[in-house]
Amino acid sequence: MNLYLLAPEISLCGLAIVVILLDLVLKRKGILAVVSVAGLIVPGAFTLALWGREETTFAGMLAIDQFSLFFNLFFLVMAALVILSSVDYVSKFRAFQGEYYALVLLSAAGMMLMASTRELISIYVALELVAISLYALTGFLKDPKSSEAGMKYLLLGAVASAVLLYGMAMVFGLTGTTHLEEIAQAIPGGGLLANPALLLGIVLLVAGFGFKIATVPFQMWVPDVYEGAPTPITAYLSVASKAAGFAVILRVFYEALGAVSLDWGIIFAILAAITMTLGNVVAIAQTNIKRMLAYSTIAQAGYLMMGLAAVSALGSSALLFFLGAYALTNLGAFIAIIAISNKIDSDLIGDYSGMARRAPLLALALAFCLISLIGIPPTAGFMAKIYIFNAAVQYDLTWLVIIAVVNTAISAYYYLRVVKVMYLEAPPSEEAVPSSASLRAALSFCCLGVLLLGVYPWALLRITQAAVDIFFP
């Protein structure tokens, strides 16, 4: 048992406890955000120190490899950006700021564990650590809308957990073990149709994890929860929670169920086609920008699942790249919305009219992120779409790519509508929109990242290729 391999997660939990304790003794709450962000350097440094190692510990339950280290860094950066962009927002709830930051940190620790465990029970425990923290965060505003969102998320999340556990029980019952690599050895041959129990198990697993990544038909919770939750938490849900779901799907399906990949590849391909179409078509009708982005994240989950459907090293590395690009883009869009909504106190797209005159930089950043979500160069979204479409074509999924391209065209309509409202319509007032320095820092980090990945994607691409190498020895 090597505790050092768990150092990033342990130090992150320690940081959360320190933040809670500081909250009890400090009068000036502004320091909490500084401590939370600065403290993230410690788990980040541990992750970098572990970089390149490939070991397992705790009787094979925990794996430290390029894949888990990639996601460690990913979640740490996401947590830092969310905390930075929350500083303006937490002024809305004066009393519980320490708990807010601590819950964000704890859920990040859970996400890191989700990406690095290779045993079903620990996967479930890590998943619940993430989920319970996020339930609390969703209802944090304590107004009727936020409470309703939290309640809905809790109830549906509990159902999804039960379904997931049932799937795990099926797989355990068939193979007699919860360790992913032992499951891989115990999987009976002959494909899924010859093993109805395994098929049932896999379908239930897809349903349980599908709730996390918000794929159709497990997407009902997304619009309501995203609308009601505090906006920074909506951003966190839409990128980090989704990424954790994809990480755990990659780990479970490649490491344990690789022998029947042909069968689950088809499941994901069909789900991807339905998910992106439904997300994009329903997003057109939305008037609330948070709801619109909620449906947009459902559509993006559809594109992401193309990387799962194309069962290959190319497909999964494209998926990781897409996750990175999508996370920066979506976070950027949400951060701009946080600043604007704080001032105009409304989430309706119509109220964004003339924003280009009131807040030129914020409007520019939002427009840039929306363009990246469509996938127009020179943005990260463009490169990400190229890689993932390429992977799907190489895997003979041309029909899926055609559907995805049509969907991209549909999505341009509702993304560009926001840009049009901001740039071409007259503002109701000329008042400027204020924003804090930390929010501006987080927003510029996202936008620069989106631009950088759009013109120089090779660095991240090399890391993602190294990360998925563990699944394709």
Binding site: I17, I20, L21, L24, G176
Partner: protein
């Protein structure tokens, strides 16, 4: 694996038989005239020995009990962990001691938190 389930099965059957016997015994004894039937108001009351209930059973509890219940559960679980740990501390050695100290520390953080937030004060 399967033998273990068989063992459980024996327990299950024994439990069912015991319950069935206990339910069937009084009517059977009456049937064969071993026990006489002499009801009276005291004997037929819900609790023959005990107090009559006052009011309805649907009453409101003070919300604050909920905090006490939570804190109680924390320390209850701590005791559950402490007993087996204390018994086998000799074999666990220093590592076990440190591990329990870490566990305690985390629990104490929770307790300090509740204390500072004023949960322990009855207002």
């Amino acid at each position: 694996m399967l033998e273990n389930f068989g063992y459980l099965g024996v327990f299950l059957i024994a439990a069912l038989l015991f319950a069935l016997t206990m339910i069937m015994l009084p009517p059977l004894l009456r049937r064969f005239g071993i026990v006489p039937k002499k009801p009276n108001p005291v004997k037929s009351s819900t609790y023959e020995c005990g107090m009559d209930t006052v009011g309805k059973s649907w009453v409101q509890f003070n919300f604050r009990y909920y905090f006490y219940a939570l804190i109680f559960v924390i320390f209850d679980i701590q005791v559950v962990f402490l007993y087996p740990w204390a018994v086998s501390l000799g074999q666990l050695g220093l590592f076990g001691l440190v591990e329990m100290a870490v566990f305690f520390l985390i629990l104490i953080v929770g307790f300090v938190y509740a204390w500072k937030k004023g949960v322990l004060e009855w207002k």
